[in-house]
């Protein structure tokens, strides 16, 4: 006999949880990320990230490629910090081979890495504005980003996936125009950055949408493994450029931007300040590029000595770690990338709970996810 179900009404009426699929195709996820949202009205009860929609098994592919080829694969991970990803692999190979690259290489790599960081933050700034509803920011950001892309194009022939680094140095020497154009960019961008603040940062609606939203405490940031600007906004000092200087970061003077508020606006502000710091770093180096070779001669097929090697770098999104296990052959036995996006994504449920759908979009924007970086 069937049991008769007793229906009890909630004093304020019955509310049902609402389930929504955010993605894999959704304008705010900036790629094919799928978030399973459980909502109560517009309030978020639970966020479940579902990954794998753009998984290309880059880590497995590396086991069949030579080290020179692996550099090219890393472009496709965090495509906005392509240069920095390349650099990470080159650094780990150079570390394993105990190769000392010329100063010129170190300085040029640093300048390009900082230009990449600015370009990445510019794109982030544009889409953050768009996510919060201000569509014009995107075009402003792209105007300035275009100058960086042009510099990259002239210097190494590619605008986004540069492949300029090779193990042992650079693919070729910098273009004669390089210094002049970078200086022109710095001059231009210094007048434009305050414009960004006027357009978005100081807007009352933008402030209301971001301040006090999605607060991440320093303890949580550490326990979830959050790195990069997102962690620094919570007061966690984690800049690899300061902690373990690589390339030319030990010879330049710059500040690590820290904020203690940990909310969406703090994450926003940290990135804006980081652009100023990047400009400052480039300014110090651009006139002091040492003369010398742009490459150290290495064997056509690089074989790393048997062992395990690890190198971490600071990409625009946080800490990228490259872990190589070599058995002495031309391809690595195993290669693992510790990508910043993956760890940063893990915190999204913790941060977004209790806020509204619109807040989730703002929070996601300031964590700055690049989906191919999460999935690899």
């Amino acid at each position: 006999m069937e049991e008769v179900k007793q229906i009890t009404l909630h004093p304020q009426g019955r509310t049902e949880e609402y389930f929504i699929n955010m993605g894999p195709q959704h304008p705010a996820t900036h790629g094919v990320l799928r978030l399973l949202l459980t909502l109560d009205g517009e309030i978020i009860k639970r966020v479940d990230p579902d990954l794998g929609y753009i998984h290309r098994s880059i880590e497995k592919m590396t086991e069949h490629d030579t080290y020179r080829q692996i550099v090219h694969l890393t472009d496709r991970m965090d495509y906005l910090s392509a240069h920095i990803n390349n650099e990470a692999v080159c650094l780990v190979v150079e570390k394993a081979l105990e190769l000392e690259v010329p100063d010129r290489v170190k300085v040029v790599r640093t300048i390009l890495a900082e230009l990449t960081r600015i370009a990445s933050h510019l794109l982030w700034w544009g889409v953050t504005g768009m996510d919060i509803g201000a569509l014009t920011t995107f075009m402003y950001a792209f105007r300035d980003r275009e100058m960086i892309n042009d510099i990259m194009e002239e210097n190494c022939g590619a605008r986004l996936t540069m492949n300029y680094n090779v193990p042992g140095g650079l693919m070729w020497d910098i273009h004669p125009n390089f210094q002049r154009r970078v200086k022109a960019f710095i001059k231009h961008f210094k007048t434009k950055l305050p414009e960004f603040d006027r357009l978005l940062s100081d807007n009352i609606i933008f402030r209301k949408r971001t301040e006090g939203i999605g607060v991440l405490s320093a303890e949580d940031a550490i326990s979830f493994g959050v790195t990069g600007p997102a962690a620094r906004a919570s007061g966690v000092s984690c800049d690899i450029r300061k902690k373990q200087p690589y390339s030319a970061y030990d010879r330049v003077e710059f500040k690590e931007i820290l904020d203690t508020r940990g909310d969406t606006f703090a994450r926003y502000k940290v990135r804006i300040h980081e652009m100023w710091e990047s400009l400052h770093i480039i300014e110090q180096l651009i006139d002091n590029i040492p003369e010398g070779d742009y490459q150290v001669k290495t064997n056509a097929v690089i074989k790393l000595p048997k062992g395990e090697y690890y190198q971490r770098v600071e990409t625009a999104r946080g800490e990228l770690g490259v872990y190589v296990v070599s058995d002495g052959k031309k391809s690595p036995y195993r290669m693992k990338f510790r990508s910043p996006g993956f760890s940063n994504l893990s915190v999204i449920d913790h941060v977004a709970r209790g806020y509204k759908v619109a807040d989730l979009v703002a929070i996601m924007a300031t964590f700055d996810f690049v989906i191919p970086d999460i999935d690899r």
Binding site: E42, I132, A134, T136, M139, Y140, I205, K208, V357, A358
Partner: protein, 358 residues
């Protein structure tokens, strides 16, 4: 001078001389309907292009410039594209309501349009509750939005529709109160009389500070009514895809798209009528020569110039501001705009009582 009344009456007499009275009246209706249909089409084409050009101007772009000279035919090309598109819908959508929604929206917008005077004599019908009528029929649109969100069987659409319902019903209050403030000043609900009273001074000068406050509230509420940034939550592209019209394609989508522009036009027109004297030229006290020069410009141009300024203002908002969140949106209305509006209404009543507005 420049009065359209003789022309309109001439057409009317000509119709009546041709056929029996009932048929002539009917023919008149059809004629008016055709004129408004043409107006609707032209407005859609022109405003969409202008919006794109203005957006491009704000965004350091060129805007459409490939189809026709200066991109003039771009919207025509888009209209043809939308006409030829396959209508794609969702499974298990409520087909009757799904098909009905865009028309409800457009009917509300078009009905409000019928009371708007473009120049002396150029008005479909001048009823004695004109302004009230505009406020009433423009809220029919929200039904269309709610039905669209409900009927398309899509969770994002439903969220958008619910937001829209909360938003439009709330901001209706502010808009109506702002209108009421100015109606107090005019002492009439009839559109033509409201305009007639602004022959010497526009209400924005006549009404002192309360008129300015009412204007600001009206523009804010009007932007919210038209679902435009910073109040575009029902659409909220980056949150909800396209909100309530996510599941519409082809011409049905075009109706939603165009109704936004018609609504924008209506909001601007009402603002121009209530605050900037409709088709009345700008007159300054004691500047007789200047006033005569201003009189020389035809009223229809005055109306269109003022409209363009208002429309540009609304577009300026859209391409500058970020979007509010739903709770902030409602808080703004219920905690700030509505109390301000009520106090403002009392202030205006006091001014009218003391006769300071003359």
């Amino acid at each position: 001078m420049y009065d359209f009344t003789p022309m309109v009456e001439g057409i009317n007499r000509w119709l009546h001389s041709m056929m029996p009275d009932a048929a002539a009246t009917f023919a008149g209706w059809v004629l008016v309907a055709l004129v408004y249909l043409a107006l609707f089409a032209v407005m859609g084409l022109v405003l969409v292009l202008v919006e794109r050009k203005v957006a491009a101007f704000f965004q350091l772009r060129l805007g459409p410039n490939r189809v026709g000279p200066w991109g003039l035919l771009q919207t025509a090309a888009d209209a043809i594209k939308l006409l030829l598109k396959e209508p794609v819908g969702t499974k298990r959508a409520d087909m009757f309501l799904y098909n009905l929604a865009p028309f409800l929206l457009i009917i509300g917008a078009m009905m409000a349009l019928s009371v708007i005077p473009f120049a002396p004599g150029l008005q479909a019908f001048d009823i004695n509750i004109g302004v009230f009528f505009i406020a009433a029929v423009s809220s029919v649109g929200v039904l269309g939005v709610l039905i669209a969100g409900w009927a398309s069987n899509n969770k994002y659409s439903l969220l958008g529709a619910m937001r829209s319902g909360a938003q439009i019903i709330s901001y209706e209050l502010s808009m109506s109160l702002a209108i009421l403030t100015m109606v107090l000043l005019a002492g009439s609900l009839q559109v033509s009389q409201i305009i007639e009273q602004q022959r010497d001074y526009w209400f924005i000068f006549k009404g002192h500070v309360p008129a300015w406050i009412a204007f600001m509230i009206f523009v804010i509420a009007g932007t919210a009514e038209t679902n435009r940034t910073p109040f575009d939550l029902p659409e909220a592209e980056s949150e909800l895809g396209a909100g309530f019209h996510t599941e519409y394609s082809g011409m049905k989508f075009a109706f939603f798209f165009l109704s936004e522009f018609v609504n924008m036009f209506i909001i601007s027109a009402v603002a121009v009528i209530l605050f900037f004297g409709g088709w009345m030229p700008l007159h300054l006290d004691g500047w007789t020569g200047f006033n005569q020069v201003m009189d020389f410009i035809p009223p229809i141009f005055w109306f269109l110039i003022k409209m363009s300024v208002m429309l540009f203002l609304l577009m300026w908002f859209r391409w500058t501001f970020p979007r509010l969140r739903i709770d902030q949106l409602l808080k703004l209305e219920w905690k700030y705009l509505l109390p301000m509006n009520l106090v403002n209404l009392l202030l205006m009543a006091f001014i009218v009582l003391m006769g300071w507005h003359l």
